[in-house]
């Protein structure tokens, strides 16, 4: 039964390659037409022309565009993404550092989001057009409609400045910064590994608010999708069959209907997880969270092409990866597509 999966995946791989090529072109175009002048960012406002031109040459900007593209592709193919102007570090190394911060946040958020969204979505579907449905729908639409940067600011004001329940900006209290050995760059893991429980506590304290907000907004999406998938399934004849068998409502819902939306849900959760990256750009700005989103935006603003292009590429890859995974999950878990 697995046999069909392989050629399909091979076909997919081809498709992905094409998409990747497109990504490369797109990122290059974005990188090159940026009006921000990275040289100026490097040499500063008062630099002489000699200095400026010196750096301009160092960055390879004096070469014709096609050459730059050629070198770009060649470098990318050899996994050389260059160094970031802002950090002076290889971009990949930077990303390996900032991505975990975002992933940590996003994972925390998706756990909240899915943990909240899926049961609520099912509850709404089961109670379609009754008050729980309305309440859940409105709540989830609110989550979908709120500008997360705004909610983040307000929440920070209330819960940090006002009530003092949670930590403020950053991943941990300022003075713990630099005290945790960096093994995985996942702070919660690193601090636990090092047995620094006060840092761990501080980290939890700091992550809880942004993660809840992100979680809420992604739960909005998950709830809605769960509800509509579930409604689709509840209208299917096999659900009637299950009821005819005398199965209780719970069993009908969870074993039969829910069983059939599991794979779809994985896709949705994967997508939601991916788009948390998007929410992260804004929420990281609000919470001074040193993650991927901040890295991307701050590099964007100074025209750090290597970094921006790589970030965009990485996001694209993550999305392609997530799509691929959910595709494969479909094939593996849905007997009909085997």
């Amino acid at each position: 039964m697995r046999r069909r999966v392989i050629p399909d995946i091979a076909g997919q791989a081809g498709a992905i390659l094409v998409t990747l090529a497109g990504l490369l072109i797109l990122t290059f175009v974005i990188g090159r037409i940026m009006p921000t002048d990275p040289v100026r960012a490097i040499v500063g406002e008062d630099a002489t022309r000699e200095v400026y031109e010196n750096v301009y040459r160092q960055l390879g900007l004096d070469r014709p565009v096609w050459q730059q593209f050629f070198f770009y592709v060649r470098d990318v193919l050899t996994f050389d993404f260059g160094t970031s102007i802002r950090t002076g570090q290889p971009v990949l190394q930077d990303i390996a550092r900032v991505l975990p911060a975002t992933v940590e946040l996003a994972t925390f958020a998706i756990v909240i989001g899915a943990g909240l969204g899926i049961p609520l979505g099912v509850a709404a579907a089961v109670n379609k057009d009754r008050w729980p449905d309305h309440v859940i729908r409105i709540a989830s639409l609110m989550g979908h409609s709120m500008p997360i940067f705004w909610t983040g600011m307000i929440a920070l004001l209330i819960f940090y400045a006002g009530l003092g329940w949670v930590g403020g900006s950053g991943r941990m209290s300022q003075f713990y910064i630099g005290l945790v050995p960096e093994r995985t760059n996942f702070l919660l893991i690193d601090s636990a590994l090092a047995g620094q429980w006060d840092v761990f506590r501080s980290a939890v304290n700091h992550i809880i608010l942004p993660a809840s907000l992100l979680g809420y907004s992604s739960s909005a999406y998950i709830t809605r999708m769960t509800r509509s998938f579930m409604l689709d399934q509840l209208n299917q004849e096999y659900v009637t069959t299950a009821r005819v068998k005398g199965l209780s409502r719970n069993k009908t819902i969870w074993r039969h209907a829910f069983g059939n939306i599991k794979v779809q849900l994985v896709t949705i959760v994967a997508l939601a997880y991916g788009s948390l990256l998007e929410g992260a750009v804004l929420i990281e700005t609000v919470f001074a969270w040193p993650g991927f989103g901040q890295y991307l935006t701050s590099n964007l603003l100074i025209g750090d092409m290597n970094a921006v292009m790589t970030c965009v590429l990485v996001v694209g890859l993550i999305f392609i990866g997530l799509n691929l995974i959910s595709d494969i999950l479909y094939r593996v878990f849905d007997p009909r597509t085997r």
């Binding site: 406002e45 010196n54 970031s84 550092r97 400045a161 900006s169 300022q174 630099g178 701050s298």
Partner: protein
């Protein structure tokens, strides 16, 4: 509450792209490096007088063409290596030889890749003679060397150990090789800098074992953190927050003058604006008091002369006021009784925009319709660099060294007004302002050996500029403000001279 032996500082490190002293730009990087690298001499933060640092003493030659520095025999680098004349010479040569951002300072004093070897004469192990390649004011040269960047003293041995063919640029981006009170432990772009105490510091050991400089660009975040005790010092706070913090008993807010001005720049390429009468009218169309009272607190104080008030020979304000009638008269004389349409560029940072909007409003009263064009630094100053603008609200104008020449060169000096010259580091060139006589006066004043004569000459220059109505019209002198916990002592507010070695916590 922060720990007793740790200092947590909030500032904005958006402009910090490297920690290589030869390649840094802007004050924020200088603020970091001040703690890591010593310079050969220093400016006293209060008096702005030259005081010893790595050099325990120095002599200026009779003809004002060389300075001999005697290096403190105790001075050692954090690596344990002693500081030698060879190190100092290496450090001064390095920016020029690499042609990196900080070379600008030295280039403007006439040093070039060709002459720098010869100009930095190692007399003996502890004596360095610095020759001046052109007639100059040696004090100004020394002031330049107080700045971390051109003046940072690097541990040659250590740098060479880590150098490829880049004189260690790659390595120095993230590492330090200085003799300062702290060493660079870790730098994360746009996140933080961690400095750790240099346990073998040759001066008085700092009390703080660790300094965390945290990138907190949001003023309100800094304020919250200060109020919650998560932060000891906040360096980039906005006016509203400073005002609020001033109410707070546990927080001290301190303001000091700093380098540069907020100005209205006028492009002489624009026919209308090239008319002196029009420019003079503009001078009367700025609401100096309004802007400085409402927008500028904590950012600037009223100043109408492009020489920093603390600089040598700085003149008093000529006393321009918002005077729409006078401006209208001048405009009418110039042939624009009904005003004209123009553009006003400004970077989208609060106090800039606010000032621009205020100026736009007053211009309007005299019939001048200025459309505001906003953008980021690259776009706005970019337009200025390519000399394509009409009016522009900006900030700058030298003054890091408390010497009028520093301001004048930045603001009005323009040795070559052709488009090809590309003298983008001179505001004079950017605004296409060219006055040969003024250029000469500036050059002469600088090399005048007698201090009193020199003072008079600078005074004349300032009067001359006022008559000529130069293209840069300052309305505010830059000040900087920091807020810190009241139990923290020894904070230096001006970022150019800020150091944490004397900071103590009084708990």
């Amino acid at each position: 509450e922060t720990p007793d032996d740790q200092l947590v500082v909030g500032f904005n490190m958006n402009n910090v792209l490297t920690l290589d002293p030869a390649a840094i730009t802007g004050a924020d990087a200088v603020q970091i490096l001040n703690n890591v690298y010593d310079t050969i001499v220093r400016l006293d933060p209060q008096t702005r007088e030259l005081i010893p640092s790595v050099a325990e003493s120095w002599e200026i030659s009779e003809d004002n063409r060389s300075i001999t520095f005697h290096i403190d025999p105790d001075a050692t680098f954090a690596s344990g290596n002693p500081v030698t004349a060879e190190d100092v010479a290496y450090s001064l040569r390095r920016p020029i030889q690499l042609n990196l951002a900080q070379s600008t300072w030295l280039v403007s004093r006439g040093y070039t890749a060709d002459n720098i070897e010869e100009m930095t004469e190692v007399v003996d192990n502890k004596t360095l003679r610095l020759h001046l390649p052109q007639p100059d004011d040696p004090r100004l040269v020394m002031m330049t060397l107080t700045i971390n960047g051109p003046g940072s003293i690097l541990d040659k041995t250590l740098v060479e150990e880590h150098a490829e063919d880049d004189m260690g640029t790659a390595w120095l981006t993230n590492n330090s090789a200085g003799s300062g009170a702290f060493t660079l432990n870790q730098w994360r772009a746009n996140e933080f800098v961690i400095l750790t105490r240099n346990e073998d510091y040759w001066g008085d050991a700092p009390e703080m074992a660790r300094v965390l400089m945290r990138h907190l660009p949001e003023s309100q975040s800094q304020r919250l953190a200060l109020e919650q005790g998560d932060l000891d010092i906040g360096y980039s706070l906005a006016a509203a927050d400073l005002r609020a913090l001033e109410e707070n008993e546990d927080i001290i807010v301190e303001t000091v003058p700093s380098a540069g001005f907020y100005y209205l720049a006028v492009s002489m390429k624009n026919e209308i604006l090239a008319d002196k009468k029009v420019r003079e009218a503009l001078r009367y169309l700025i609401d100096y008091d309004g802007i400085n009272d409402a927008i500028m607190p904590y950012f600037g104080t009223k100043r109408q002369v492009p020489i920093n008030s603390y600089a040598f020979a700085a003149a008093e304000d000529p006393g321009y006021e918002l005077d729409v009638e006078r401006a209208k008269e001048l405009l009418a004389e110039a042939g624009y009784p009904d005003g004209f349409d123009t553009t006003l560029r400004v970077i989208s940072t609060q106090q800039f925009i606010d000032s621009a909007t205020a100026i736009q409003a007053t211009l309007k009263q005299a019939g001048i319709n200025a459309e505001i064009i906003t953008g980021d630094g690259g776009q706005i100053y970019g337009a200025m660099r390519s000399r394509e603008f009409d009016l522009l609200v900006g900030r700058g104008g030298g003054g890091v060294s408390p010497h009028p020449d520093s301001n004048l060169r930045a603001v009005v000096y323009n040795p070559d007004n052709s488009d090809d010259a590309g003298l983008t580091n001179y505001q004079g060139w950017r605004t296409s302002f060219y006055d040969e006589e003024l250029n000469g006066m500036i050059e002469d004043a600088l090399v005048e050996g007698d201090v009193e004569t020199q003072r008079q000459m600078y005074s004349d220059i300032q009067n001359y500029m006022q008559d000529a109505v130069i293209s840069i019209q300052p309305f505010s002198e830059r000040v900087v403000t920091a807020a810190f916990q009241s139990d923290v002592d020894g904070v230096i507010v001006d970022v150019w001279s800020s150091r944490f070695e004397d900071v103590t916590k009084d708990r």
